[in-house]
């Protein structure tokens, strides 16, 4: 038993070193901009960069669109599959997992060939169209996470009874969906939204190949041209991921405490 405990601590220690040294290294490096002393100059330089503000804002906007349209697609589908088409569940689940199998670069390669400016649906022919395609590509990328978190939340409520109760009270479909189902799966919607946010903010491949000024390609550009700013950006990105995951934990803990759930 003593041996077990020793090896367990050893494993944790190795893990701790492997995971914290790079984070520490990044942080230390980001403070080195001023010669001979530590300072937050690199962060100042990052935040005052106009391109940082623009790309960051653009990515946040894209993330919000992705979350809004993604949820409008995923929640009704998950609801409908549970209520009316349980036989389609394996198929829908399989489709939502496909983006984990097909690499992002392959998907975007297909978009570029299929939706170029000389095709029937020329998404990439205009800036607006390309932005739409970018949002669609982000929805595709986050589909596995969104669907899974919404479907898990839907498992804890009795979809059929809720629907019947609402119907008896005279509710129409939009009312059932937006005032009955959505609020009840809010925990799933929120955790799906946060993970989508984390994915979209750091995404590189799609935005770079669709030539949109997003945060990911900007990071790569800074990395290729500057010395200390990349570390500062990595610290910021890590803090953002940490924040998103922390919010997911918070939401799931709050939803566990909420009463009025089927056991």
């Amino acid at each position: 038993m003593k041996m077990t405990k020793f090896f367990a601590w050893l494993a944790i220690a190795i893990g701790l070193i492997y995971f914290f040294v790079p984070l520490l290294g990044t942080f230390e490096f980001s403070l080195r901009m001023r010669r001979g002393e530590y300072s937050f100059d690199a962060y100042g330089s990052v935040f005052s960069d106009v391109q940082f503000q623009q790309t960051f804002g653009f990515s946040i906007l894209m993330a919000l669109f992705t979350i809004a349209f993604g949820m409008l697609l995923v929640v009704p589908t998950a609801y409908w599959v549970r209520l009316r088409l349980p036989q389609m569940r394996p198929v829908v689940e399989f489709v939502t997992l496909m983006p984990l199998v097909i690499p992002a670069i392959v998907i975007v390669f297909g978009y570029l060939r299929l939706y170029n400016s000389s095709s029937y649906i020329p998404f990439t022919g205009s800036t607006f169209g390309t932005n739409v395609l970018l949002v669609m590509s982000y929805i595709t990328l986050s589909l596995p996470y969104m669907y899974r978190s919404v479907d898990t939340a839907m498992r804890t409520i009795d979809v059929r009874t809720l629907t019947e109760a609402a119907e008896i009270l005279g509710a129409k479909w939009p009312t059932i969906l937006f005032r009955c189902i959505f609020p009840n799966v809010m925990s799933g919607v929120l955790s799906g939204a946060f993970i989508t946010f984390a994915i979209v903010m750091g995404e590189f491949t799609m935005a770079a190949l669709l030539n949109r000024p997003a945060f990911g390609p900007y990071l790569q550009l800074v990395g290729a041209n500057k010395a200390y700013e990349p570390s500062a950006l990595a610290v910021i990105a890590f803090a953002m991921t940490w924040l998103s995951m922390g919010l997911i934990q918070l939401v799931s803990r709050l939803s566990k405490m909420a009463p009025a759930r089927r056991a």
């Binding site: 998907i107 299929l114 990349p230 998103s244």
Partner: protein, 313 residues
């Protein structure tokens, strides 16, 4: 009279089936309408999946079997077996394999430590939360983190040089290489392994351990003959998932090495950007090769997970 009565009976005879027939059509058309509505409900999702996932992928897969003029051919597939492309696949497979193996081993020991190591419970919840974050911390920032740590002026490199007089880079180590990329990829591989394997280890029942001890088995025998045979589908399956995960990743590698390390996703990226292979359909074949490799490892993963779940009921 004789003629009059049969038509009545005949009519009555006739009406009954007709009525039945009418009712049957009514109910079947009712079912049809309901079915149509049912299917319309998932139509938006299906159209989305077709437009942005399935058709673009199929387009590339089909394109791999045609010449630019539209003639059917296997030449693109055959052309994959040229030295440049083969070496790209080989490096990709090596990096993915090494990082999934390393991730699986270290991830397994970490999961083992928090589940069976008898550690305080806050370590378990702390590690699981951290794993959730770190498995999503990939892409360009991860490359920056490792450059700041193991790069030529990184923290560890400088530390080793100034305190131990040990020059990491004189040993032939280079962050922008196979080893460097593997070490970097493990930063998101290990946490993924921890997240997937912890439930599997939780599923090892205490009774199995006790039963084997009562029967006189040593710890080693317990692991070799009881625990490992139960765990291996999860272990191998998750390793395959990690393999596919590393195989498709591009952002980290691109930010870390630029285009100096010739792995498949970077080659494909260059091909999309500027047709470096001078044959657009060869690019499709390159993409098809990626799909085949990640697809196979995922199919094996699903199959192994089904085997693993037999023990988790």
């Amino acid at each position: 009279m004789h003629l009059a009565s049969p038509p009545v009976g005949g009519e009555a005879f006739f009406i009954l089936p007709k009525k039945r027939y009418f009712m049957a059509t009514a109910s079947s058309s009712f079912i049809d309408r309901r079915t149509v509505i049912d299917w319309l409900g998932i139509a938006p999702f299906m159209i989305f999946a077709l437009m942005f996932l399935i058709v673009p992928t199929l387009y590339l897969v089909m394109g791999a079997f045609f010449t630019p003029d539209g003639q059917f051919t296997f030449k693109n597939i055959a052309d994959l077996f040229t030295p440049t492309i083969l070496s790209a696949y080989w490096i990709s497979i090596k990096v993915s394999f090494a990082s999934s193996l390393g991730g699986a081993l270290i991830g397994f020991f970490l999961a083992w430590a928090i589940v069976l190591g008898g550690l305080p419970s806050w370590i378990r919840s702390g590690l699981l939360t951290f794993s959730g974050v770190a498995s999503n911390f990939a892409g360009v920032p991860l490359a920056f983190a490792f450059i700041a740590t193991l790069g030529r002026t990184g923290l560890v490199t400088v530390f080793l040089r100034e305190w131990f007089g040990f020059n990491l880079y004189s040993t032939g180590f280079n962050l922008l290489s196979f080893v460097g990329l593997t070490v970097t990829y493990m930063f998101f591989q290990i946490p993924l392994m921890v997240l997937i394997l912890t439930p599997a280890l939780d599923g090892l029942k205490k009774e199995w351990r006790e039963a084997s001890e009562i029967l006189g088995a040593s710890t080693w025998q317990y692991w070799r003959m009881v625990a490992f045979p139960i765990l291996w589908p999860s272990l191998l399956g998750t390793s395959l998932l990690l393999f596919a995960n590393a195989f498709g990743a591009i952002a980290t590698a691109y930010a870390l090495t630029g285009s100096s390390l010739n792995i498949v996703p970077i080659l494909l990226y260059a091909q999309i950007r500027g047709d470096v292979l001078h044959n657009p359909n060869l690019g499709y074949a390159l993409a098809l090769g990626m799909i085949v490799i990640t697809g196979l490892s995922n199919i094996l993963y699903i199959w192994l997970r089904m085997r693993a779940e037999r023990w988790q009921k």
